[in-house]
């Protein structure tokens, strides 16, 4: 799977552009030095810098040509090394020469890491890289003139736009992948659903209806409900969220009814999972302490909160039994239900009395919808 995803990396062409820019910029730097070589007091220092640039260009060419090297860490390292190479150019000119407009041998090669950061981190990464590179060059020059302002604008604009393009590409790729996965899942579910609906479900239903052996009947009913639950498609929800209704309906058994709206109740995936786990814990508690009782799960969404009520018609919990159980080391109820709800910023209230069954009221605040 990972290999397949990497192959479909839509950003790869942009990385190739960044690599090509680095190579071309190095050639331009060499040509620039050759043309203006009379402006340099010596030859050894600029040649040494150009060689260092060549080595680093080779390193990033290799790094950025493979998916493993296209990381924020690598681009930050690139930025650090590039600034160091830039700092080394002070050896190519006498003190104060840069302030009088002497050429800097690295030229536009130093813009490379800003472009790489744009691809790795999007618009903000590109702008940050551009500002760092520009600040380093300006520090070397010691003044801010028209040309510096012009360079800054150009650099920020290029890196920012490239980063923006990278972000859009990434989103498009994600959407594409999700759509493909959703379609594949839906097709598979439909195929399985048809097979199960026409075969196994019919037999289970028949076994249950004929009701020869009570134990067999009960098992058939349980499996039938579980299978039907698995076939539930559930409405489509946004990435990172889950439909609490679908999750809770999977908990239905012949002894557990689940009620809720037909419309999806969208919550952050983690919140939905934790809430579902708390409900499962409450149902397990009923199954353990009130064998044969029927339970109901009711999902009641409101604008600012979501309430889930788990009720059973069992014998109820006598006064003082719950704290006592916690004291004896039965942390099930307290930590699993109350703890989970507290972690979600919600609350869990238990209403119970002997002969009245138990009723958990789980409430969580609903954040602002995305």
């Amino acid at each position: 799977m990972a290999g397949e995803l990497r192959q479909r990396d839509l950003l790869a062409p942009l990385w190739r552009v960044v690599v090509a820019f680095r190579l071309v910029a190095w050639v331009l730097a060499v040509a620039g030095w050759f043309r203006e070589r009379d402006d340099y007091p010596g030859t050894a220092a600029p040649v040494a810098v150009l060689v260092a640039m060549a080595v680093w260009t080779a390193v990033v060419t290799v790094a950025y040509s493979r998916a493993a090297g296209r990381r924020t860490r690598v681009t930050l390292l690139d930025l650090g090394v590039t600034v160091l190479v830039l700092a080394a150019t002070v050896a190519t000119q006498p003190a104060g020469a840069f302030g009088e407009g002497a050429p800097i041998v690295t030229s536009i090669w130093v813009a490379g890491p800003a472009l790489a950061m744009a691809l790795a981190r999007g618009r903000d990464g590109g702008v940050a890289g551009a500002v760092v590179v520009w600040a380093a060059v300006t520090f070397l020059r010691g003044y801010v003139g028209d040309r510096e302002v012009f360079n800054l604008t150009l650099l920020v604009l290029t890196a920012g736009l490239l980063g923006y393009a990278a972000t859009i590409t990434r989103r498009a790729e994600l959407a594409l992948r999700e759509a493909a996965a959703a379609q594949a899942a839906a097709q598979e579910r439909e195929r399985l659903g048809r097979a199960v609906h026409d075969g196994v479900l019919q037999v289970l239903a028949a076994v249950r209806r004929r009701g020869v052996d009570p134990e067999l009947t009960r098992l058939a009913a349980e499996q039938e409900v579980a299978l039907r639950g698995l076939l539930t498609t559930g409405p489509e929800v946004a990435v990172g969220t889950a439909d609490l209704g679908t999750a809770l309906r999977l908990l239905a058994t012949p002894d557990v009814d689940v009620a809720g709206p037909a419309e999806p109740v969208e919550l952050p995936a983690h919140t939905a999972a934790e809430l579902t786990a708390a409900v499962r814990e409450a149902l397990a508690n009923t199954a353990e302490h009130a064998a044969g009782a029927h339970a109901w799960v009711s999902l009641e969404p409101a604008d600012d909160e979501v309430v889930v009520v788990v009720r059973d018609d069992g014998p109820g919990i006598p006064d003082g039994r719950l704290p006592a159980a916690a004291g004896e080391g039965h942390h099930g109820v307290r930590s699993s239900i109350c703890g989970r709800l507290a972690d979600l910023g919600g609350s869990a209230v238990l209403h119970t009395a002997p002969g009245q069954g138990t009723e958990w009221e789980l409430t969580i605040p609903r954040g602002t919808p995305r």
């Binding site: 309906r249 009620a259 339970a295 009641e300």
Partner: protein, 215 residues
């Protein structure tokens, strides 16, 4: 004797339901395996109650429900459906079904539901109450100012039904009579069905599907 028709696309299931009902004193006058023959046979035999599955091989149980209810005022539809089709159940109830029972319900529960449906009562499971609450919430958030709304009392009653309380238990908790609770429950269903009919008629007139004079 109450006459019943069973609609389901599974022959084995159909036979099992038929046998259960016959054993409890109902007269099963017809069965059908798809929407088209369900409507045709219902018109021919005019049963008191149609026990309707929504997942039919060909045609939709929701459309069949609408057609049967429209053509036969004396016939009531009880939806017997798998728990996996919540949206369909809601549509069937809006189209005029008098109640909804999950397929995992036992034979006695089914017999009781058919009896109550024949008597004109709504068969109100916890699941149906949850669906109705959700639908009223959706309508309230929608743009239609004429959409029906629940009174505070009705919301309270529906919530307790969705939590699995019986009408008797609800009556005790809210200090109401048993009959008042039943009326509240029936009203929530009727308001929605009426609204759905008005919507359908309005849609038909707007799209020129019917002559306004005859509507």
């Amino acid at each position: 004797m109450t006459t019943v028709m069973v609609v389901d696309d599974h022959p084995m299931w159909r036979e099992a339901v038929e046998r259960d009902l016959a054993a409890r004193g109902f007269e099963v006058v017809a069965t059908a395996g798809d929407a088209g023959s369900a409507v045709r046979r219902a018109l021919a035999v005019r049963p008191d109650v149609v026990v309707m599955d929504l997942q039919l091989g060909t045609g939709s149980g929701v459309d069949a429900t609408r057609d049967v209810v429209a053509a036969l005022p004396g016939t009531r539809v009880l939806v017997l459906s798998a728990s996996a089709e919540q949206a369909d159940v809601l549509e069937a109830v809006k189209a005029g079904a008098s109640g909804y029972l999950v397929k995992s319900a036992g034979a006695d529960e089914l017999a009781d539901a058919v009896t109550r449906t024949a008597a004109g009562d709504a068969v109100f499971s916890a699941g149906l109450a949850g669906l109705l609450l959700g639908e009223y919430r959706r309508l309230q958030a929608g743009p239609d100012p004429g959409a029906p709304q629940l009174t505070e009392r009705e919301t309270e009653v529906l919530k307790l039904v969705s939590r699995g309380l019986s009408a008797k238990a609800i009556a005790e908790r809210l200090v109401l009579s048993h009959r008042t609770v039943e009326n509240h429950v029936q009203n929530t269903l009727r308001k929605l069905q009426l609204h759905n009919r008005v919507e359908l008629t309005r849609y038909a007139i707007e799209h020129g599907l019917t002559d306004p004079d005859s509507a």
